[in-house]
């Protein structure tokens, strides 16, 4: 039976019509292409009226296939599939031709563009005739959610879900949740105390009956698919039995071993070998750092065990594993701070009074190593002048090309705190001041009024080589003042480097583990940069906070909540549709060679030992076709991408070449065995 094909050409306003003769194209298709019953053009096919046009034709003309020549299928394939379904046509009998992205937007010759459009429409018509009805299946959604990362973003996401009554497993690598925000003193631009606004949320997490908090833990492995993930969690040995520990802290008090705290105190302070990162830590249970603990190094001490009133210390504790079933995953893994020793010209690690931004945060914090006093490395001297250097490792082709988004505001905050605490003259060396949120520019104005000095120019070097009067014993900041148009040497007592926010050092491994991708710079890639910022290309895996790209606390919190809302929608719906565009292995042809097993980028293929054949899990398969192409026995077929469909499309694309050889001539695919 001959198919009845309807062809619809979209003007997309002038987006397509400006470069392609859309009316002519529709007329041509109706007159010249075999099996085309109806061919129309319309201003906006994606509008309700455009969709109704298609629906009416399906019903009245009895169309059995639809071709839409419009934008990329990435944008409107779903729209037109739905229109077909509304009219009772299987949605997989619709094919789109990308006249906008592949032709009008990238052409400058109207005649050639129209010729190319003819080829694309012809290809789509021949292909759609070979397409088959496909039916999506449904899978249930597990209502539990895995949130990875217990910074403010992860905390927000976990609380939103838990408050809605859904269970959350919150996994945090460090001994306590809180993330970077717990290290800060004040938050810009309101200057409210970071801990005061964060710790209530932290204790909410700790006490919430719907949240299982797994701190000092990491996700080892994730399998499964949207709605039905299985995660294996490694809970590192704390050497403290959580069930028995009351969190009294006697062990910490009695521990004789002091080490530098590189994580929470950013290397500026000390902690014990058995420790809680900070007093308000959640959970309250301490951890023994086995690399520092005297008992693990020398076999004696056990002071903590002797003094523990509840016998909660367990030196023999091993890592334990937990297997969780969850329906969705939210990644909120945050960032690493730029290591400023990578810019040796700024002297960090070499010149004592050059500090990192995290060091300065800890120094300002009343609970920090200096009790909130801003002092030089000697621990006593108050600086009389401070230089804050912006863009250390950001906006720098040699390190990170991007803007870290928060440093300008953090520098203003530092300026305010330094002036308030020391009365010092504070200089900011910036490239551009970036203050684009609510009340941010006003905060900049405030610092201008408070007397912070702003020098627009990237710093060339920070040196202690004095050469002019007044430089002796100071750090000299050499910069080019691009507003005054001259070189400046600014002698100061203290330099603070505003290091970049960088993707976690293991972000790429994490991405691989969860089947998502990273941008060139290493940030997790969202499904759409504007319209779908918290979803990823992997269904059921969401991203939020800085792991997606540099952002401040309000934006991170918003994303955490947004991701939670997306997950709630999935849970409330209860089921997910599983795309039928998948690969199928025909067992009778499979030799069990397993070549396809490792090629699959979605880990969708497993080997069935008992049958000796490979098997595609339809829920995981994205229909990419890698295995179809790789199978040496041609035992795998890709639905919606069969050989017949592809070759017919090619034949259609080459309509003008083939018609010269005689119409109806079948092209034999070369090099593909039958």
């Amino acid at each position: 039976m001959a198919e009845k094909v309807g062809v619809y050409i979209c003007h997309c306003g002038s987006n397509i019509a400006g470069m392609v003769d859309v009316e002519g194209l529709a007329r041509w298709a109706g007159a010249n292409l075999e099996d085309v019953t109806v061919a129309r053009d319309y201003k906006f096919m994606c509008s309700s009226l455009g969709q109704e046009l298609i629906e009416e034709d399906i019903k009245k003309e009895g169309l059995t296939r639809v071709v839409v020549g419009a934008c990329s299928p990435h944008l409107h394939e779903k729209t037109f599939r739905k229109a077909c379904a509304n009219a009772g046509l299987n949605p997989y009998l619709m094919q789109m031709a990308s006249l906008r992205e592949q032709i009008s937007w990238v052409s400058s010759d109207k005649d050639k563009a129209t010729e190319k459009a003819k080829a694309l429409i012809s290809g789509a018509v021949r292909r759609v005739i070979e397409q088959e009805e496909l039916f999506a299946s449904e899978a249930p959604v597990n209502p539990n959610t895995l949130v990875v990362g217990g910074g403010v973003t992860g905390i927000q996401a976990a609380l939103e879900l838990a408050d809605a009554g859904y269970h959350v497993y919150l996994v945090e690598r460090e001994p306590s949740i809180g993330g970077h925000m717990a290290q800060f003193d004040k938050t810009f631009p309101t200057l409210d105390c970071s801990a005061c606004i964060l710790t209530p949320k932290m204790s909410d997490v700790g006490q919430h009956e719907s949240i299982t908090l797994l701190s000092y833990a990491e996700v080892e492995e994730v399998t499964g698919y949207v709605g039905n993930f299985h995660a294996r969690i490694r809970k590192r040995a704390r050497s403290v039995k959580e069930a028995d520990c009351t969190g009294c802290g006697v062990c910490i008090e009695k521990c004789p071993k002091k080490v530098i705290d590189d994580v929470f105190e950013a290397g500026l302070g000390y902690r014990k070998a058995i420790y809680r990162p900070f007093p308000q830590a959640v959970p309250k249970y301490p951890v023994i750092d086995r690399e520092a603990c005297t008992y693990y190094l020398k076999g004696t001490c056990k002071a903590c065990e002797k003094f523990c009133p509840t016998n909660a210390i367990d030196f023999e504790q091993q890592d334990s594993f937990l297997d969780l079933d969850v329906g969705n995953v939210i990644l909120a893994t945050g960032f690493d701070m730029f290591d400023s020793t990578r810019l040796p010209q700024y002297g960090y690690g070499r010149l004592a009074n050059v500090f990192s931004n995290l060091e300065f945060e800890r120094m300002c914090n009343a609970a920090g190593p200096t009790d909130g006093k801003v002092v030089l490395r000697d621990g006593v001297t108050t600086p009389e002048s401070i230089a804050i250097v912006h863009c250390v490792g950001s906006r720098d082709k040699k390190h990170n090309p991007y803007c870290s988004a928060v440093c300008c505001m953090a520098a203003l905050k530092f300026g305010h705190l330094a002036i308030e605490k020391t009365g010092a003259q504070v200089y900011s060396f910036y490239i551009d001041m970036r203050t684009p949120h609510k009340n941010y520019e006003e905060f900049y104005d405030r610092l201008l009024a408070e007397g912070m000095q702003f020098v627009r120019g990237r710093v060339a070097e920070v040196t202690d080589a004095a050469r002019l009067p007044g430089e002796e014993g100071k750090l000299i900041v050499q910069s080019e003042d691009t507003l005054a148009g001259r070189q400046r040497r600014t002698p100061v007592d203290m330099v603070v480097l505003m290091g970049a926010l960088e993707p976690r050092h293991d972000a790429r491994e994490t991405a691989l583990k969860f089947g998502i991708s990273c941008s060139m710079n290493g940030w997790f890639t969202e499904r759409h940069p504007k319209l779908d910022p918290v979803a990823t290309m992997t269904d059921g895996v969401f991203i939020a906070g800085v792991c997606q790209g540099p952002k401040d606390i309000p934006d991170s919190v918003a994303q955490g909540a947004a991701a939670a809302a997306r997950v709630m929608a999935m849970i409330t719906k209860g089921t997910v549709l599983i795309e039928p565009v998948v690969a199928t292995i025909h067992e009778e042809n499979c030799s069990g060679c397993r070549i396809c097993n490792n090629l699959c980028p979605y880990n969708a293929i497993t080997f069935l030992e008992d049958k000796g054949v490979s098997y595609v899990n339809a829920a995981l398969c994205k229909g990419c076709g890698t295995c179809v192409a790789a199978c040496p026995a041609q035992a795998i077929s890709g639905a919606h991408f069969s050989n017949e469909q592809i070759f017919s499309e090619i034949e259609g694309l080459l309509y003008d070449a083939i018609s010269g050889n005689g119409a109806g001539h079948k092209v034999e695919p070369a090099g593909v065995p039958a």
Binding site: R350, E461, D464, R467
Partner: protein, 322 residues
């Protein structure tokens, strides 16, 4: 390890000790240098501003000559200015078709040709650090430079963006630091290590030139360095040769000897100071080197030839003499 070797003009005269010490350590370190046949001046630092085609043709001729050393695709330059010029020319011959065309035309006049990328131009510091390596240096050290406080000075030529030395950090290089540490020397922090020595500025504007020299000498002195170690003849000339004039200009009395890194390597290998050209420097290193037990025989200072008085009339029979 065999290389083409381009000494450059300086190493024939004011930096003869650099050449001498390089040759002296080559054998013990297993380096074999084949000098480029009939090489010429690299044009130093100013020529490029005057006439690009001529300047690059001058350098390209050396590259073309170097390709005649069959089987050797690495060209080593101990002088930083030569190194930078050769590298720039090698790159531009591949990436700047217009300039390369003009230069090739000039070379063709002399029956020569050079294709950018044929040679791998490397500084001697890169060879010693990467090809000889710290382990070999350490193993061959018989007279460790113990107790000698040294300021490692790289100058500004081998740190230029896009042309910097090997895989060293262009902002804050460390390879020379590591070499000197391996030889047993005590390193002082030398924040000015990649700053300019002034180049030929002493000939153009004395005050500017002396100030650039003073910064470096002062910084080394502030850190109580016994000597500055350099890898560039221009730097050595400025810091050593003009140290006295600089002192007079500022009324200071700095005394910081300036030696080549090859001389220190030679001393650590146990070679005699005389064979390394040590003693020919103007600011004497005798006292500094006594710390490591090296006895320096200082070159006899020749009595300066009586300057001819321009106003005097020529003596009979001496006509024609300059």
């Amino acid at each position: 390890m065999k290389y083409s070797y381009y000494p450059g003009c300086s190493l024939e005269k004011n930096a003869a000790s650099y050449h001498e010490s390089t040759m002296a350590i080559a054998g013990p370190l297993g380096l074999d240098f084949v000098e480029v046949e009939d090489w010429n001046c690299c044009g130093a630092t100013e020529y490029h501003a005057l006439n690009q085609t001529a300047a690059y043709a001058l350098i390209a001729r050396n590259l073309a000559q170097a390709t005649k050393n069959e089987g050797l695709d690495t060209l080593v330059a101990p002088c930083s200015a030569c190194y930078l010029n050769l590298r720039k020319c090698d790159k531009y011959m591949a990436t700047e078709p217009e300039l390369a065309g003009r230069v090739s035309q000039a070379l063709a006049e002399a029956g020569l040709s050079y294709k950018g990328g044929t040679l791998h131009v490397r500084h001697l510091l890169d060879i010693v650090y990467n090809d000889v390596g710290l382990e070999t240096l350490q193993a061959k050290t018989t007279r460790p430079l113990k107790g000698l406080r040294v300021a490692p000075y790289y100058g500004c030529m081998i740190v230029r963006p896009g042309f910097h030395n090997g895989d060293d950090d262009p902002e804050y290089p460390v390879t020379l630091d590591r070499i000197l540490t391996a030889l047993g020397a005590e390193l002082v922090d030398f924040p000015m290590k990649a700053h300019c020595c002034g180049g030929h500025m002493t000939q153009i504007s004395e005050a500017t030139g002396f100030e650039l020299i003073r910064r470096l000498i002062k910084s080394a002195d502030d850190y109580e360095a016994d000597l500055i170690v350099t890898i560039c003849p221009m730097c050595q000339l400025n810091l050593d040769g003009f140290q006295g004039a600089m002192n007079r200009h500022f009324g200071t009395s700095y005394h910081i000897p300036v030696l080549y890194f090859t001389q220190l390597i030679g001393l650590a290998l146990g070679l005699a100071p005389r064979d390394l050209g040590v003693g020919s420097e103007i600011v004497s290193a005798k006292e500094a080197l006594s710390k490591i037990g090296a006895e320096v025989e200082e070159a006899e200072v020749a009595t300066p030839r009586q300057r001819r008085d321009d106003k005097a009339l020529p003596m009979p029979g001496r006509r024609g003499e300059g």
